[in-house]
Point group: D3
Chain length 286, copies 6
């Protein structure tokens, strides 16, 4: 796949982060590093993980000084070990120092997301299920974090509420309180949504899964079931709909979940609770 | 202290998050929940921790429908136990569902930051040091995360590069490569920076700490020293400058660090690696 | 369905239009109408058609003066005859005059889109096909024009390139030039796109339609076929995929197209070439 | 004249349209066209008309990929016949496909406006009147549509309410309800408006035209008069003011109107009801 | 005249100024003034002059806290003496202090412009000429400074390059270098500009003034002439065009200029070099 | 020091000013200067002073046409005499004329600020005090005016309320009304503000100065004292805090103030009441 981050979005997000960090008015660097002084540096991994975020590092340096040259030694998606050399940077020293923190903030966070995703993906190696993200992303950074999920070997769920239909427990409860059921909710979604969207329904029991299939759902989300319960549902559904496992997915249980035969496993923690990957920039003035 | 989040900033960040999430074009809810249907819900903690982010929850519901009423049962800063009731929400059901995820995304993240901060603060109870944040924050959310740090009992470091002077190793290396030392770097900072700013210098050894004090630094950042080394520096500095401990601060070592006598302990992990606190919204249509 | 226009989007678009029109610096009105003078007016249809756009009229007057009261006499979707009274407006005269043109520009354009859509929908009354829009909308106004299509009884196609998969002739040609076929293109789309999206494939012949069905397409777009050719494809597909007719749809041929049994009929002309519906505002100073 | 479209405005409008269309996240193209594949295409007219909008096509391709080369074969203002080759495009195929619809949406709409204008202008060939636009433009696109009017041989009326004085029936009614007349309204406008602006007055009868001239109006707008009535007014005015014909101008009557001797003929339909000109992009992967 | 400042523009400019001033993160006030403390204050003039800018003061307080009440004791345009009480403000003390500087910055600057304008206007009392501003305004504040000019009894020149035709020496030099003269330049302007605009021509000598009148200019700008030269031109022009005096206008010579019979006197110094009027806010906590 | 203006801020401010001035729709120039015509010009000082603002001039020409070449003959900070040649500009004539006014508006204003600052700085030559600006800057232009102050040899005070602690009379009055004094206010500021900020306290008498020093203030602002009073305070403080003189600073008294021994002298008039420096652009078409 042709994986592209919108370059204008990257520029905009990076520019906003640099302004937030006062990078264009870095009083310390302006006072202590003269304009003519050059420098070079290298980005080093200090933990094992998966690299993600080089386009943002590139954009951060471009934004502060077009004379800075970043030379990637690895690509997004590469496996990192402590000590892995990620990229070198060279040019006027002052703007390198002023942009360093923002570059690292993006790189560490996105590499953290990619690393957490890769761990789940590796844990189900050989099984057909795909690991996908959720809408539990950092406000303002969804497109970037979804990119990091892909870099880590995962797939993306719907981008947002506007481009996917997912009838959840609350929607069904709303329908029931008006005397309607899954069938009517699915029909309402089909009538209102563009024909280019599938209709997914969240269920919490075997009986609800039966109802959802009967109602013609294209995808059944099995919420917080144990692997055995999931396997029973998958068998009953028998290919009439896709199945998604959701809720409480961990490194410890993800393989068991995948072995239940579900098509999709979604995880919020890869975005909402990923630890930043430790990366440092070692600078050497010249 | 009069702790205030800029309400316009809150509105802007929340609005952007709602747009990012497609909340104003929630195809599922628009299809399955009629405009007239009302509902109510309660925000419940599912983990122990510290609450932070209610103003963002409030703003999220206001943005989608001014007819929704949020009634806080606790305040930001409250201790949460699994099952703690945080707030109730009541009004038209459809917009409540459309804004739910964004409200939770903010609440879980900021409560996670407050919880991680509070853990460090509690660990040094009775000692005079203050726990402060760093610039390792989520791009775009710095003001909010700093608020969460305060809610968790911490203090804030400088906001960004423009409003604090911190001469780091790279600045000193740049000076040295030009034949200058700490003294000249501090003098340059004093000459260039507004007189309202203190000058802080990062050191990695006892000898550098001596140099920095001699150069007239107002604050000495002791980088990655062990508690014994810090204590030795603190004793040598003897009140001539404030001292800040930085690098590798954990729950396990923070009390030992504080006992070294430093004035300030800074932690990046409370913002860059805090786990989201688990909170749910239980909705009941009516 | 709960049809909602994002009120913030409406405000933003209307505000931009008022600024574009210099409504806040209307030299003529400021010079000739004193602040104290009140007035009232009525919006009158001068052509037959379908009403769409009242929320924008409301927003235009609110933006220039919150003291203006708009009282709708009809709702969006109402049938208009020449002379139909649409709404009254009352309040300070000067801002009413300053906002008049912008209010009418939106109302006339959106009513034009709704009217054109309704004509197609009425022409296929009793048949199951749905009329949908395309991406041939006015830059900047897509959400509004899609709303007008719904108001006119139509449905919406995908919003944009990000939220629907439609493999068109150019994508297939690109695949073929690399030695691949429809099957591989569909598989690539399934692998890359969120599982919440259907995969639609554009075909121009019976043979291509067969290929697309065999490749597992969820929706087949029959491009520029005549009704007989469409009917043959529909029969062959036999419910294994949805069918969409596209290209050259007119009032004259839409019923024949619908009778071919297609599920969806898409029309670009309802947005790109709709005539503005003639509406006037008759004002009476007091 | 040096006809220039503000390049920053063009970039901004085009960028917004591309974002609206999801062009930077085109799931189909990203999935089915690899980054290395190149392609070329040609823009072909499918109807007769006048070309307008090439700068927007250029900007659309630049925005998605600076490596795309657009080579215009004609210039804005050129006459098109079905089959006319307008421009070629060459470069990486994926971004060409992602920007195609936005490029065409602008080109078809603006060429439609230029074509409608040119038809009116041609119809009065040899007569001194100028055809001008009105404020009945598409919200957000006024500057572009005015450009298309000029490209089609027309002229522009005032840009908006801030940069031209036009005392309309409602302003005069407001004055009359306060016991004042045309004379006082013209005087008020002269007193308030910058001295760089003429004062134009709308009249609906011979008597009002007499009043307006006596009041010292610089321009008289003859609203919805028949050609004979206009001719009578023009003769009476006798060069003491410019005259503008407005209301109900069609291809059928525009020559008769011009023959009445008016200086200016304004038409709203060239912007609010122009049909999009049919143009296609024929792409060939390589 | 109905003098209105666009309230949204006011809000936007004031909001930007408050953000620039860090008013939503006023560390001193947040630390030293508790949220519950109320206060009141009075705006006092410390110099003589003309008041302008109350809507911005109002907007500044509204932006920081809607609970603050501003009670104007005078209106924009009022004459101030040292000690004049302008307005009182009452409410929560902390936000009053945080917005004080921004409120004063606008009030002092705009009152300075109004005061400088009023001095020129008063100096020509009894003569028919109008004092107008120029485009030599503060970037970003033109609409506000033009308002202050009107408040001071002046009038406005064209807003900007887009809404007035003024053929200056450089335009004429450009024409001459191509072998053309004033006549051709005026004709070109008439052909290109909307018919709602007058054509003004800048001249520096009696002979050029003759040329400009012969070319049909509507307004003649007499640049840097002495009053006697102006009077000679005015007499020669004899009402065939308006006349504007420009260049080197001071309080000392403005009456002599006005006595030359010119219609308009333009002054750049009222905006580019006005001294801020001294105003203070005396606050009293309660 | 490495004095850098954020280039993106410069572009943004200049672009906004050009839009405000209608520079992209300059009807006069578009009508009278053909696209092919070239020209050159020179910026000439007409008054003595200090040059500031060349980066904005550069940005203004770049924004309208990248083909224009500006060649600085002097640098910001240079002394100007009447007739000093500042820079030449060469390229397409039309956009040079369209951007001229905006370029001059920035250059004249910033040079005015630099000139006023330089006069104060020169007046205290040989004395150790630094001249600093205040927050009495033009809304929207603070960063630029602070740059001009530095160019004129001055220093900057805190940027805004968020990045410096200054306890003023109103804050102290608020404290007193709650039964608290300077000591408690300083302690509250220390507790709430980042440790990177000094605490400055405003005093109006010798006694208050004593109190402030006793309270541990880092900087004492001596408000509106006469030089003798200042000298007495400086002697009493004896290096325990920095001292800042503020209020009523003029060219006439600034040397006497500096001789009192204060460290810092702040002046609002260098920004709020500086006269624009007279600069012209002499253009020559070719």
């Amino acid at each position: 796949m042709n994986d592209r981050l919108d370059p204008e979005l990257v520029r905009r997000v990076v520019r906003a982060a640099l302004e937030e960090d006062g990078a264009f008015n870095d009083v310390t660097t302006l006072a202590t590093v003269p304009p003519g002084q050059a420098g070079r540096g290298v980005f080093l991994a200090k933990d094992a993980g998966v690299l993600a975020g080089l386009p943002l590092v590139q954009a951060a340096f471009e934004a502060v000084d077009p004379g800075i040259r970043l030379r990637p030694l690895l690509r997004d998606g590469a496996r990192l070990e402590p000590g892995s050399r990620i990229a070198t940077v060279e040019g006027p020293l002052a703007p390198i120092l002023s942009a360093e923190r923002v570059a690292l903030n993006f790189l560490q966070r996105l590499s953290g997301v990619a690393t957490a995703t890769r761990a789940l993906v590796d844990a189900i190696a050989g099984l057909p299920a795909r690991v996908v993200d959720t809408r539990k992303t950092t406000p303002g950074l969804r497109a970037l974090e979804r990119y990091a999920v892909r870099v880590g070997g995962g797939h993306n769920h719907r981008f947002n509420l506007a481009d996917g239909v997912l009838i959840k427990d609350n929607h069904l409860a709303a329908a029931r309180s008006r005397g309607l059921g899954v069938r009517e909710a699915v029909a309402a979604a089909r009538a209102a949504a563009p024909h280019t969207l599938r209709v997914e329904v969240e269920v919490t029991s075997f009986e609800e899964a039966e109802e959802a299939v009967a109602a013609g759902a294209d995808v059944i989300l099995l919420d917080n079931m144990d692997p055995a319960g999931m396997a029973r549902c998958v068998k009953m559904i028998d290919g009439r709909a896709l199945t998604e496992a959701s809720g409480g997915v961990t490194l410890a249980n993800v393989r068991a979940i995948a072995e239940s035969g579900v098509d999709i496993i979604s995880s919020g923690s890869v975005t909402h609770s990923a630890r930043a990957l430790d990366v440092s920039l070692e600078v050497e003035p010249s």
